[in-house]
């Protein structure tokens, strides 16, 4: 057993295993959790970070239209940029997803979770030398909740009724209790800016570990180390260069020729080829993003739950994960939550491909004729292929699906959330509450399955202000079952985030929060050799 745990420890030192995997495997060998935790920490420390060097990232997702204003950050590129130059009030712990302090040192909810007090960190300096004050924080949050705001965080922030300073503390009053408020403040749009960015939202001045030295939208951004950074456990490299590379082959060529250290969005179709390169390491992280086939529960023929069940049983999930994700993903169970969320309801039976049950429900629904499915490759990579695979597996259950390929341009405004049956993609949300409130609450703008159930809404609202975790978990189980067995979402798979780096890159943290180590990739890694 000692040998085995030593082996595990070595894997940790080599950066090949994260805390979650280590604990899991160690526990399987009878090591107590506490002991395993200590062992992990020791092993991880042996891998001492090295400072210095010039880190180059080749990233997909940049456009000439990218904005410097974090409120309008929409691309993968500006997402990472914001993490480099700015800080939020709260961060999420990479492996558990729990809220951890950032610019807010600590926080305290009222008994009903409707009033929250955040203690703001002292002695933090902005890149322009000004000291961070509570006023800056208040102004920032106000800018994102303003009536006229164009912020991408508007949906997250709309439950905040009042934002005020109380001595050195920030006080937020909500329209209703929300036990998850700290996690909502981890949203990447909510970068704290001097005077809330009201003077110049595009200044790109924050408290982050790197200062922006140049930025040409859609082309390139460069950063230098912020010598006054308030944290020492990040920002290991001296300078960062981010290059916009929207072509998948160009990214792979740049990585395998050593011109960049890290690339994002490796195509599952080519990942096996890239793996063969001796200098390259594939970095895949389980995520909360999921590929979905959505039916409108209030539109014929999908207003019939038997037809919805027939279509759910017609989905061959394993094949989807293998063919569409190249194995880099996990099967879904027709509700939008997986084990990366806090308070995940375990033990719900996995739905499998079952043509007989599908045929049974199909017959019971009384529907006849083809079912029209609209799709496009902008919905998710490989969406058209996935639709055709689905068509095949449904055929075995006697269900005819007609696949209609729609133009990618304008798909999100003309097909998604408009047509009754289409393919789509959901990125994860920081909490279960957020995910359900965004897409499954009756009144949500993005209720793209038209799932309208008063009982569901009621439990959702109750769970939101429930501070007892066991009770909340039970409520989330009930909600998951309702969506799984009566909802309009067919959820075949959760996709992994597949990135790659050269072997020089060390200390990569597999963060379940979001892609690219939750955007913190450049601030967390260091270069060896």
């Amino acid at each position: 057993m000692t040998d085995f745990t030593n082996y595990l420890a070595r894997q940790v030192m080599l950066g090949k295993m994260n805390r979650r995997e280590f604990m899991g495997r160690a526990a399987a060998f009878g090591v107590t959790l506490a002991a395993a935790g200590t062992m992990f920490d020791t092993a991880a420390k042996a891998q001492e970070p090295k400072r210095g060097g010039h880190l180059k990232l080749g990233l997909e997702g940049a456009a000439a239209t990218d904005s410097k204003d974090p409120a309008k950050s929409l691309s993968q590129f500006t997402f990472v940029m914001g993490r480099n130059w700015g800080d939020m009030l709260v961060e999420s712990e990479p492996l558990t997803g729990q809220p951890v302090p950032a610019l807010a040192e600590s926080w305290e909810p009222s008994a009903d979770a409707a009033t929250w007090t955040f203690k703001i960190r002292q002695g933090v300096k902005f890149h322009d030398g000004k000291e961070l004050t509570v006023d800056d924080v208040v102004k920032t949050l106000q800018r994102h909740t303003d009536e006229k705001s164009e912020s991408g965080a508007l949906g997250v922030m709309k439950s905040i009724k009042e934002i005020k300073a109380d001595g050195g503390n920030l006080v937020l009053v909500l329209t209703e209790g929300n036990a998850d408020l700290p996690l909502l403040l981890t949203d990447y749009h909510l970068v704290i800016q001097p005077n809330g960015g009201l003077d110049d939202p595009n200044a790109m001045i924050g408290t982050g570990p790197y200062k922006v030295t140049s930025f040409e939208p859609g082309v390139r951004a460069t950063f230098e180390k912020n010598a006054d950074d308030w944290r020492t456990d990040r920002g290991y490299v001296d300078t960062i260069e981010m290059i916009a590379m929207n072509d998948a082959t160009a990214r792979i060529a740049a990585l395998s020729s050593g011109q960049v250290h890290y690339i994002n969005r490796v195509d599952p179709k080519t990942v096996d080829l890239l793996k063969r390169a001796p200098t390259v390491e594939i970095l895949n992280t389980s995520g909360r993003g999921h590929y979905v086939f959505i039916m409108h529960c209030d539109t014929a023929p999908f207003d019939n739950n038997d037809l919805r069940m027939a279509l759910k049983y017609s989905m061959d999930r394993e094949t989807m994960v293998q063919k569409i994700l190249g194995g880099y993903g996990k099967v879904g169970n027709d509700f939008p939550i997986n084990e990366t969320y806090a308070l995940f309801p375990e033990g719900i039976e996995q739905r499998a491909y079952d043509p007989d049950k599908a045929a049974f429900h199909y017959k019971k629904s009384g529907h006849s004729g083809p079912v029209l499915l609209r799709t496009s490759d902008v919905a998710f990579p490989g969406a058209v292929d996935a639709a055709v695979l689905y068509q095949e597996s449904a055929k075995k259950a006697g269900i005819e699906i007609e696949v209609k390929r729609e133009p990618g341009d304008g798909y999100w405004s003309n097909v998604w959330n408009v047509q009754p049956f289409s393919t789509s993609y959901w990125g994860g949300r920081p909490t279960q509450d957020q995910m359900y409130s965004t897409a499954y609450l009756s009144t949500a703008d993005w209720n793209d399955t038209r799932f309208k159930r008063e009982d569901f809404d009621k439990i959702l609202l109750e769970a939101r202000s429930e501070l007892d975790e066991a009770k909340r978990k039970d409520m989330y189980r009930t909600m998951a079952m309702m969506v799984r067995d009566e909802g309009g979402v067919i959820l075949p798979m959760f996709n992994d985030f597949v990135n790659a780096s050269t072997k020089q890159v060390k200390g990569y943290v597999h963060d379940i929060g979001n892609d690219m180590s939750n955007g913190y990739v450049a601030t967390r890694v260091w270069l060896e050799g």
Partner: protein, 376 residues
């Protein structure tokens, strides 16, 4: 391989070569004919009572043509701007919805629309934009809120830089190889040139690009990749960055110009005066360069002009493959989110380039042809 057939019927080869790209051949044809036509109408006008314009046309037909063309181009640009505006309007979704994409909330969409005046009727918005543009103000990009002029300046500079080097290598090379192919027609040299250039033009440009990246950047490690250029870069660094994209573009445009040169010269080579020159005992290359080429120059100029235009406006695929920040990618990004001021400005610059290069091609064709230069 068409080498054998082409010597017997050069005209067929010309059609064949041009035919490989219907758009190009069509444009080439119409431009050459409109050039001559407008000249003809100008000459026939001054048969009657001479108006001041008529006198001017008679005195300096070339200047008259240029003036006419300039007036026409202003009208054309105006029409282009209406078409671009109408086209972008007709696309599904407006800036607010496409920019926010899947993360659009009704309130954020409404706020953006109001902010940019998208809630006003299309005609009002067009004339507002036109009013600004006529005063030289192309407005700000809706997405980044930066001045369009400033951003385009940099991107256009990059595009021209790449196009310039691709052109100064490919044009002399194409014409030289074309002459060489005529000199050694139907022999080994001719066939080799033909096969290689045909192969280069037949491969899609992104594939040529990937091959070059694979061999020179990944395997041999001698070339710079990605070809990203930025402000603080020195000239030598810049040149080394654009080496691979330039090579790709040269390979892509070479065959078209080379084959046109070869066909045009071969056409002239069957004339009686070339035979005379041969009988006088002049060397083959001298006949081609000194006697045949000047009379074959008109179609070659047209093809060269179209390829030049292509090098500036049509290289978006090469830009993407090599991660080169040129105009093409900039315009595609803007169209994707319906960023109207940027799309308009890019569209007008592209249109202006086409008009300008075609005009230059026509003028050069006239200058090169004494019968057109001195109309009677």
């Amino acid at each position: 391989m068409t080498g054998g057939g082409s010597t017997r019927d050069p005209a067929a080869t010309m059609a064949g070569v041009a035919g490989s790209d219907p758009q190009l051949s069509l444009a080439a044809g119409t431009d050459a004919s409109t050039g001559n036509q407008s000249l003809n109408t100008a000459t026939s006008n001054d048969q009657g009572a001479l108006s001041p314009w008529g006198k001017f046309v008679r005195k300096s037909p070339l200047a008259a043509l240029i003036l006419q063309r300039l007036a026409l181009s202003v009208g054309l640009l105006f029409a282009v701007s209406i078409m671009i505006f109408g086209g972008v309007e007709a696309l599904p979704g407006d800036f607010a919805t496409t920019y926010l994409g899947q993360s659009a909330t009704p309130q954020a969409v409404a706020n953006i629309r109001k902010d940019l005046g998208l809630d006003q009727p299309a005609t009002t918005r067009y004339f507002q934009w036109l009013g600004g543009a006529l005063q030289g103000d192309f407005g700000n990009s809706w997405a980044s809120r930066n001045s369009v002029g400033e951003q385009i300046g940099r991107r256009l500079g990059n595009s021209l830089f790449l196009a310039f080097f691709a052109a100064i290598i490919s044009i002399p090379l194409a014409i030289g190889l074309g002459m060489l192919a005529v000199q050694f027609r139907d022999r080994m040299v001719d066939k080799v040139i033909n096969v290689i250039s045909l192969a280069a033009i037949s491969l899609p440009e992104f594939f040529v690009g990937y091959l070059l990246i694979l061999f020179f950047a990944v395997q041999m490690g001698v070339a710079t990749f990605p070809a990203t250029v930025y402000d603080s870069m020195g000239l030598t660094e810049r040149l080394s960055a654009i080496a691979l994209p330039t090579a790709t573009l040269v390979l892509v445009v070479l065959a078209h110009m080379m084959r046109m040169t070869r066909a045009a010269i071969l056409n002239v080579m069957s004339s009686a005066y070339v035979e005379t020159a041969e009988l006088k005992g002049l060397s083959g290359l001298r006949i081609i360069a000194r006697h045949a080429a000047p009379n074959a120059v008109a179609p070659v100029i047209n093809v060269v002009a179209l390829n030049l235009a292509y090098l500036v406006v049509g290289v978006v695929v090469v830009e993407v493959v090599f991660v080169y920040p040129g105009m093409g990618q900039y315009m595609v990004d803007a169209v994707t989110v319906r960023d109207m001021p940027v799309v308009q400005a890019c569209g007008l610059i592209f249109a202006a380039f086409y008009i300008f290069l075609n005009m230059v091609a026509d003028i050069l064709a006239i200058v090169a042809n004494p019968r057109l230069r001195h109309p009677r």
